[in-house]
């Protein structure tokens, strides 16, 4: 474990050094990510200012769902989602060979080498939005905070599982950069309170594609809208994570390298 942490720290150090080679690019990327992540909340703000609303949700409550979503991405993207880009380029070029020549689990190496400090910009925008949203709601009880903390871990696990599924696909769909569009299309619904959708859609977003578990369920827990029963999401996230790991390792066997 100590070796793994040292390995992780060294990779993060090197990745930061890599970013610092082009500081203006780094600063601009972070800024653009912050702006990009704040577009939907700004639209929400405009909707509420115009007198419309998501039924049953105040502006700050709706923004809290979006803040949780951006926060979850702010953690999942730098640590896990880089592996999609790593797989995309390295499998196509055949340089994934080099990753397999490292004495560490291939999945861990793909995650480590995909670590992207730029994505911490999302954490920044998420934190700002989270603070703003919380300023307009009743201060949550500590039990709500505890439920939220547990469900937020589940949310990160679900995003991690998604990155494993998308990255795994790329061993077969070599070079298909559309996997990012698949993610955006799937998770777009997660930015809104689940109750604004029809019952069928809510069930799909909770039990089939667990998009609702990324932000809606944790935010509802923080707002005291759901009880301890919502913690079933922990089991669901753990299961999804296990399936993601199994799937990724299975897809890795499809790796054929490139001509030498």
């Amino acid at each position: 474990m100590k070796e793994l942490l040292a390995c992780w720290a060294a990779v993060i150090r090197v990745k930061l050094a890599e970013q610092m080679a082009y500081r203006s690019h780094f600063a601009l990327s972070v800024l653009l990510l912050v702006i990009g992540d704040l577009v939907v909340p700004l639209v929400t703000l405009l909707v509420y200012r115009s007198g419309a609303s998501f039924p049953g949700w105040s502006l700050h409550e709706a923004l809290l769902v979006q803040a949780v979503f951006v926060l979850a991405k702010g953690i999942a993207f730098p640590f896990f989602f880089g592996m999609i880009g790593t797989t995309l380029s390295q499998v196509r070029e055949g340089t994934f060979d080099l990753l397999l020549l490292r004495p560490r689990p291939a999945m861990l190496m793909a995650m480590l080498l995909g670590f992207d400090p730029e994505d911490f910009g999302r954490l920044l925008s998420g934190a700002v939005l989270f603070g703003f949203a919380l300023s307009g709601v009743v201060v949550p009880h500590w039990t709500s905070w505890l439920q939220f903390a547990l469900l937020f871990i589940a949310s990160i696990a679900i995003l991690c599982a998604m990155s494993l599924f998308l990255s795994g696909l790329l061993f077969r769909w070599v070079g298909s950069s559309r996997v990012f569009d698949i993610f955006d299309a799937m998770t777009g619904f997660g930015m809104y309170p689940g109750t604004i959708f029809s019952k069928t859609m809510q069930n799909i977003l909770t039990y089939v594609l667990p998009i609702g578990l990324i932000a809606f369920v944790p935010a509802s827990a923080l707002l005291g809208r759901s009880g301890w029963g919502s913690l079933w999401a922990l089991g669901s996230a753990a299961l999804l994570m296990l399936v993601g790991i199994w799937y990724w390792n299975r897809m890795l066997k499809n790796y054929t390298s490139a001509g030498g």
């Binding site: 070796e3 040292a6 390995c7 720290a9 060294a10 990779v11 150090r13 090197v14 050094a17 890599e18 080679a21 082009y22 055949g94 340089t95 060979d97 080099l98 397999l100 020549l101 490292r102 004495p103 560490r104 689990p105 190496m109 066997k253 790796y255 054929t256 390298s257 001509g259 030498g260």
Partner: protein, 329 residues
Amino acid sequence: MIEVKHLSKTYTTFERGHTLREVVKTLVHRPMKEIRAVDDISFTIEQGEMVAFLGPNGAGKSTTLKMLTGVLHPSAGEVTCLGLVPWKQRRQYVRRVGAVFGQKSQLIWDIPPSDAFYMNKAIYGVPDKEYNETLDELVELLQVGDIMRKPTRQLSLGERMKCEFIMAMLHRPELVFLDEPTIGLDMIAKESIRSFIRRMNERKITFILTTHDLEDVELLAERVMVINHGKIVVDDALSGLRSRLGAKKSVRLTTEQPVPDELPPGLRLLQRSGPLELELEIDTDVLPLKPFISHFNESYGILDMAIEALPIEAVMKQLYTTDHAKEHA
């Protein structure tokens, strides 16, 4: 150290033509084709050997190497390297193995090599003391002390390749795979890399080399395996490889009189570099050197002459074409 038994690798790929019609057709149906890249090969390699894998493009060299490194799973057969099965015990195995790819860099483009070395140290879990000792020694041997802190993108190809070697040797591997390690390098850089490989090999580190640069083979390898169409067609010492093609030698001549294109049996014109300068291939089994020299001196007047072993390029060319001809017979 390495034992390979009946190793095979088959993979499927799709093929299509280049016309618009064929391109559109592949949107609906892609005809698959099975390729047998490696076909039932067996061999053993002892510790400290320096073996070259040769063969034309697409012969199966790289696929064999990738199976030996544990990157690819074979379709059939057994491999034991350093007492381990590479693709099954990959993590244990690669800890003891190094690799340098002339066309795939392990360095990080925008930052100095020293940062990439540091990352490898952590990934391999090399203790600080061992890392510092090894790094100092490798830097000294390859004379790259002054470039370690320059961004990789600012280094010359030769400097980068030296750093690739450091990257591959930092964890003190017992077995090193080299895939075209001198590709694109100038003579000075090539010599420096070759001398480094020889020094490391003296320490009983096993090297497996694939290359198209036959000078690398002549100057480094003790043993040559020629792979063609997925099969090992030759597994021999370099001298043995030469003798397989008969007692042939290359003769460079400068004569007083022009030599005609029609030559006696045992002689073949390789090239003519001037009206009175030419290079011949002589099969001394058919025409021994003594009668050849006296005949040429009497008929055309020898002004200058150099007799050399047939260049390895000629040996390989003959080997590839013979094998190709057999395949199509």
